[in-house]
Amino acid sequence: MTGWAMALFQRDLRLSIRVGGSALVGVLFFLAVVTVIPFGVGPDLNLLARIGPAILWIGALLATLLGLDRLFQADRDDGTLDLMLMAGRPMELVVLIKCLAHWIATGLPLVIAAPLLAIFLNIDPIAMGAVTLTLLVGTPALTLIGAIGASLTVSLRRGGLLLAVLVIPLAIPVLIFGVSAADAAIHDPVPFLTPFLILCALSLIAAVIGPVASAAALRFTAD
């Protein structure tokens, strides 16, 4: 049971590293979003510190969306997806493992880059830690919710845009609790743990709903 799961995980990780770009492009896009905002809102350091966590979260959301369209499309294009459906492995687990590999290749670099980008936004060290922590537990939810959109748009040639339109509304709860947990760490009276635990719960819910919905969509689009 674990053998095939490990083989799939290693393959997906290897592919995203060798094909290259996915992690780096995501981080560069994240960097671009975060650096462009201060030009828009002006050099007000207090304002930047206040909206910083929100900017980092929106940047991470957009950067995650950027890589999601390839989650299943590459496998569909060369016929791999057909064989995966016939392989006799539970498709829900296949999706979950692919999401995990995808998150490590594209989501984790964003989390690692977040403290550095937080400096650009004049975020103080405690808030920096809080934002990074919320991104660490929250970005898996974005990937897992995004998997639903990715499998629904897998048969479309230019599905990337539609994918973003489908996924963004579903990602709003994650964004709300991610940002409010990070904000709570800055403004003392508000408890940090409550929104943070809700964020963890959202990731766990996404880990159940995402693979089930996504596997159903993939079975349906096999035709």
């Binding site: 060369d78 057909d82 016939m86």
Partner: protein, 225 residues
């Protein structure tokens, strides 16, 4: 008389693709050790039939049964699908591609089927691409990719081979080798369903010729996919 160990039965298969009927009420049965050669004009539904047997196209009506198969598995989980797409990842080496499929695809062991399981290294050697084993698959020619895709069938034993135009992109020598492999699979108690335009010298074949019926408003059987 004892019935053969494996029996693939298709009953009244009817499928619709893109809102049009491809074929309807197609029934056949296939015993182990037999090849079913599906012939017919382009667009008549040969590939659709194979994809239906592979469980990739939903049936509008009818059912597919496999007698003697593993109880907890669907018929398509006893089958290999060798279609037009190679499912080869250019960024991985030949052996990495094959090792993945060996670990990922679940083998199906049934009573009457004695197909052997090769290691990935043996399989690429058998198909004459052993010298490319460590190369990224991106450097393979079309025919070599096709052979790599074919070696997938050798590393995971499954009794049913669904082969869509198996000889395309293969040269004469590889074609003969493919036929030997197919015959070996039949001898081992496997079964093959293949769609083809060329004559295949297989032992023990049955022919299924798909033909369009006269256009009829109630049963449009001919279409292009």
């Amino acid at each position: 008389m004892r019935s053969p160990a494996l029996n693939l039965i298709a009953e009244n298969l009817t499928i619709d693709r893109g809102g049009r009927r491809v074929f309807q009420d197609l029934s056949f049965s296939l015993e182990s050790g037999t090849a079913l050669v599906v012939t017919g004009a382009n667009g008549i539904g040969k590939s659709s039939l194979l994809r239906t047997l592979a469980g990739l196209v939903a049936l509008a009506k009818g059912k597919i049964l496999l007698e003697g198969g593993e109880d907890d598995k669907l018929p398509q989980e006893h089958a290999h699908y060798f279609g037009h797409q190679d499912a080869v990842k250019p960024a991985l080496s030949v052996l990495e591609n094959l090792k993945f499929w060996q670990s990922f695809a679940a083998p199906a062991q049934t009573a009457g089927f004695t197909g052997i399981q090769m290691t990935p290294a043996e399989a690429v050697e058998t198909l004459g691409i052993g010298h490319t084993a460590q190369l990224p698959a991106a450097y393979l020619s079309a025919g070599q990719k096709r052979r790599l895709s074919l070696s997938r069938l050798l590393v995971t034993p499954r009794p049913i081979w669904l082969m869509d135009e198996p000889t395309s992109a293969l040269d004469k020598a590889s074609e003969q080798q493919l036929l030997d492999l197919m015959n070996g699979h039949l001898t081992a108690g496997g079964m093959i369903v293949t769609a083809t335009h060329t004559e295949l010298a297989l032992t023990n074949t049955k022919i299924l010729h798909l033909q369009a019926v006269a256009p009829d408003a109630s049963a449009p059987e001919e279409m292009l996919i």
